[in-house]
Subunit: 494 residues, 2 copies
C-alpha cells in the first residue's frame, strides 16, 4: 500500500490504516471548522492524486464520514460537509472538539444527541401504513386491568406491599424473569434461565445498555445495512466506529466487508427477520457467524424484535440457541407483541455479563415498575400471552393478504409488494429510478405513512422501496390507504 | 511551580497541571498492570522527592485516584492499588487500556460497570433504620388502582386506545408534564412550564441522562462531599473527572477547592437537604453559586430528592427558581414522596436542553409507561398527591420525634442524634474515634440497617456518623431498633 508522500499533519495515529488516518484528519477539519457546514469536499479522484493514495482509500474515508453523519453525498454532485453538522458524531465528535461544545451560556447549547432521529423522539402518526404498530384495539385491556387489581390485592393480603412498592432488584422482578425464561426457551429455542434475564425498558434501552457495557469509544460495531435507526443511534451514543454489513438473500454477509472482521467488537443482527428487508438468515450463514464470533471473541447481539408472528410453520430458532448463549446475546421486546407504551423488553445474557448489565440498568432507571413487571408475568403465566399471540398471528396473516391484494389491484406495476413470512410489515419495491423518499413525502400528503427504504440504508445503495406496515390497521383502512398510495405515486410519476 | 527534573515518560498531556500529569501516569501504570492490584504505592513524601515536585502535588494526584477508585488509602499505612480494581474508572479507564477489556471470550469478562455499588443494584432490606424508605403501608393503593381503571376506561370510551397503548413522546405525557409543572411552580418555586419538563425513570436516570448530554469524557464534574452514591456512579459512567466539593454548615463550599472552578462543567447539588448531612444551603451560598454558574457558563444540577416533607414552616424555594432556570437544572422524583418502585422522576430543563434530553431519553428507554404517567397525573390533579404529602409530613415528624426520644433514652452519649428539618432520615454522630462502618456491620448482625457516613465521603474526613432512616417504620419498630442499635454499639465499644 502506498503511503502519502507528505503527510500534511503528521498524525499520532500513523499506525492506523491509511483510510482511517485520512478519515481522522477530515473529521478534525470538520470539527474545528476548517471545513464549514455545507462546504463541498474535493472529489475523491483529486484528493487521491493530491495525497498520493489510492482512490479507494479516499472513498473508504468518505464512506465512514458519511455513515457517521459528518458529510453527505449528493448523487452526481459530490460530497458536502453536513449542513446540520454539530454533534452528529456523538461523543466521538465531542471528544475532539471540546471548545465548540463547552459554550453552554446564552442558550447556545449544541445538541450533542442530535443524531437521534425525530422518529425515535416523537411518535409517528398511527395511520396506515405506519410500521412497527401492532393492533391495539384488540389488546385484552380488561384482562390487563383485572391482573393489575389482582397483583395489588394479593400484595396487600400477603403483607407484600413493601416488596411491591419499595425498591427492587435492578435485574428485574423474579416472577417476570422466570416467565420470560420459560417462554423464550420453548418458543424461541433460547438457552436461558431466570438468572440470565435482565429486564429493560424495551429493546432500544437494551441496545443502549449493551453498547455501554460492551464497548469503549472508538470500538468497532457492525450494523446490518440497512438497519433500524435506533441501533444506529445507540452505536453513535456509545461513540463507536460503525461498520455497515451488507445484507443479501441469506442475511448479513460479514465476508463482504473490507474491514478485518477481527476488529469488530460487537455485531448487531436481526436474524429472524431482518429490519426492514424481512430476510431470514440462512443456517449456513448462522453457523458461520457463530463460528466467527467465537474465534474473534466478538459479541453478537440478536435483536429478535418481530419473531412471535411467523405465519407458516414453526418459528426459526434463535441464533442464541445455536450458539448455546456463549457469544450471542438475545434481546426481546413486548412492544410489538403486546403494546409499545408498556416499555418492557429484556436481555438474555451470558453469565459473565449479568452483573455489568444489572449495574448499567441500575444507573439508567434503577429497575422497571414492579407492578407492571408482575402484571406482565401473570399475563404470560396465565396463558393470556400465548392466546393473544395466537389471535394476532391469524389477524396479521389476514391483514397482509388484504394488503397484497389491495396493492396489486390498485398499484399494479407501480409497487412490487413482497409476502412477508412473519411480523407486522413487508417490503414494496418501486420501479427502478424512483425516489422512495419522494414517494413517501407524496404519500404523507395523501394521509398515508410509508417508510422509504433509503432512510434505513447506511452506505449500500438499494433499489427504491417502501416499508409498509399492515399490523395495526383494519381491512377497510388498508384498502383505502392502498388507494391513496396509488394516487400519491401517480403524482410522483405523472 | 517546580517541574519534574526528568519526566520518566514524556506525556502528551504536558500542558496539564502537574498533579494531573502525575495522576495520568499512575493511572496508566495501574491500568497496564505495572502497578498490580493490592500493591502499595510509594509514600507521598518519597514520591515527591523522587519526582522533584511538592508533596501536595502527589497528595492531590493520590486523592484523585482514590476518589476514582483506583487506589485505596489505609489510614496510617499508606496507599494501595485497589484490590477490586478493574473498571473502577468506568469508560475513562477503558479508553486507556483496550487490550485488557477486549478479552471477552472464555467468560473472562471485565465488569466495566463495577463502580456501581451493590446498594444500587439490589435492594437493601426494608428494616429499620434503612434510609430513603418512605411509609408504604399507608400509600392509598386503592385510589391508585381506581385511577388505573379510570384511565383505561376513559381511553376505551374516547377511542384513545392507540394513544394510551401506542408509542408516545420521549419527553413524556403532556398530562403528567403539566401536572408536574403546576406542582413544582407552586410548591418549590421552580420556574417551569410543561414544555420544560422531561419525564424520567427516577432521579438516577435523570442524572445519567444529564451527564451524558452535558459532558464529554474527561470533563470536570463537581460532587458534594459527602454525596449520594448514585450521583458518583453517574459521573463515573460518563467518564468524568470528579472534583469533591466540601460541605460546611452553609452547604457546598466551592471556594474551598483547589481546582479552578471555571474548569467545572457541571456541579451536582442537593441545596434543600444535603445528602446525607441534611444541611440546607444558606441564601448567600445560593446566590454565590448561581452567580458562579453564570460567569463560568457551568451547569448546576439541583437534586431536590427529599424536599416535600419540611416539618416547620414553608419549604425553602428551589435554587432553580432563584436562578430563573438559566443555569440550574432541577431534578425531582416521586420515589420518596409516593413509592420507589414507581420509577418516575423528572427534569425541569432550560429550553436549549429539552431536545437533547428528549433524545437521550429516547435511546435509554424511549419513554415511560403511558398508563402509569397518566395515573400519576390524575393522582396529582385530583388532589390525592397533596393529601398524601400532608398526611405523611405529620407522620414523619412524629416518627422522628419517637426516634430522637428512643435514641436519647437507649443510646445516651453513644449517639448524638440530630433533629432533621425535613425528610425521611437524619444524622446520628458517634463518639470520636469510633469506626462507623464497624458499627453499621454490628448493627446489621442485630437486624438493624444504618448507613455509615464514611460510605458517602469522597475525600473529606468527617467525624464518624450514621445515617438513620425513620420514614418507613412504626413507632414500635423504631423503639425496638433503637434498643438493638444500643446493643450493637455495646459490642463495638465494649
Amino acid at each position: 500500500m502506498r503511503r502519502p508522500v507528505q503527510p500534511p499533519q503528521p498524525s499520532s495515529a500513523h499506525e492506523q490504516p491509511l483510510y482511517r488516518q485520512l478519515y481522522l484528519r477530515l473529521r478534525e477539519s470538520i470539527l474545528t471548522g476548517s471545513l464549514r457546514p455545507g462546504q463541498r469536499l474535493a472529489s475523491s479522484r483529486v484528493l487521491a492524486s493530491q495525497m498520493a493514495v489510492a482512490r479507494n482509500t479516499v472513498l473508504q474515508a468518505y464512506l465512514q464520514l458519511e455513515v457517521e453523519g459528518y458529510i453527505t453525498a449528493e448523487r452526481g454532485s459530490g460530497h458536502y460537509v453536513s449542513p446540520l453538522l454539530p454533534g452528529v458524531g456523538g461523543s466521538a465528535a465531542r471528544k475532539t472538539a471540546p471548545a465548540q461544545t463547552a459554550a453552554n451560556s446564552l442558550g447556545s447549547v449544541r445538541n450533542t444527541f442530535d443524531f437521534v432521529p425525530e422518529s425515535l423522539r416523537r411518535p409517528i402518526p398511527p395511520v396506515p401504513f405506519r410500521i412497527n404498530l401492532p393492533e391495539l384495539d384488540q389488546f385484552p385491556i380488561e384482562t390487563w386491568a383485572r391482573l393489575q387489581g389482582a397483583v395489588l390485592r394479593e400484595a396487600r393480603r400477603s403483607a407484600g406491599i413493601v416488596a411491591l412498592l419499595g425498591e427492587a432488584d435492578a435485574q428485574g422482578d423474579l416472577s417476570l424473569r422466570s416467565a420470560i425464561a420459560d417462554h423464550v426457551s420453548i418458543a424461541r429455542g433460547v438457552r436461558c434461565s431466570a438468572d440470565a434475564v435482565i429486564i429493560t425498558a424495551g429493546a432500544q434501552h437494551a441496545m443502549d445498555m449493551l453498547l455501554r457495557v460492551l464497548t469503549q469509544p472508538g470500538d468497532t460495531v457492525g450494523l446490518e445495512d440497512p438497519c433500524f435507526p435506533g441501533a444506529l443511534s445507540a452505536a453513535r451514543a456509545a461513540a463507536c466506529r460503525i461498520v455497515p454489513v451488507p445484507v443479501d438473500a441469506q442475511g448479513a454477509d460479514l465476508d463482504s466487508i473490507q474491514t478485518p472482521p477481527h476488529d469488530m467488537r460487537v455485531l448487531l443482527l436481526c436474524p429472524s427477520k431482518q429490519f426492514p428487508l424481512g430476510v431470514t438468515m440462512s443456517l449456513p450463514r448462522r453457523l458461520a457467524l457463530v463460528d466467527w464470533a467465537r474465534r474473534s471473541a466478538a459479541w453478537i447481539i440478536e435483536d429478535d424484535y418481530d419473531s412471535e408472528y411467523r405465519f407458516d410453520g414453526k418459528p426459526i430458532p434463535s441464533l442464541q440457541g445455536l450458539d448455546g448463549g456463549r457469544q450471542v446475546i438475545y434481546v426481546g421486546t413486548f412492544s410489538k407483541v403486546l403494546f409499545p407504551s408498556l416499555r418492557m423488553g429484556f436481555i438474555v445474557s451470558p453469565p459473565s455479563l449479568v452483573e455489568p448489565l444489572a449495574a448499567a440498568r441500575a444507573i439508567s432507571g434503577r429497575h422497571g415498575s414492579t407492578l407492571e413487571q408482575r402484571v406482565l408475568a401473570r399475563f404470560i403465566d396465565d396463558g393470556h400471552f400465548a392466546r393473544h399471540v395466537r389471535r394476532m398471528k391469524a389477524l396479521y396473516r389476514d391483514r397482509q393478504a388484504v394488503l397484497l391484494d389491495a396493492c396489486r389491484q390498485t398499484l399494479g406495476e407501480r409497487l412490487d409488494i413482497e409476502r412477508a413470512d412473519s411480523g407486522l410489515q413487508t417490503m414494496g419495491w418501486l420501479p427502478p429510478g424512483s425516489d422512495d423518499r419522494e414517494v413517501a413525502r407524496a404519500a404523507r400528503s395523501f394521509g398515508v405513512e410509508v417508510a422509504p427504504l433509503s432512510r434505513f440504508c447506511l452506505q449500500t445503495n438499494r433499489p427504491p422501496g417502501l416499508v409498509i406496515g399492515y399490523g395495526g390497521f383494519t381491512a377497510e383502512q388498508i384498502r383505502a390507504a392502498a388507494h391513496q398510495l396509488a394516487r400519491a405515486t401517480g403524482t410522483v410519476h405523472g
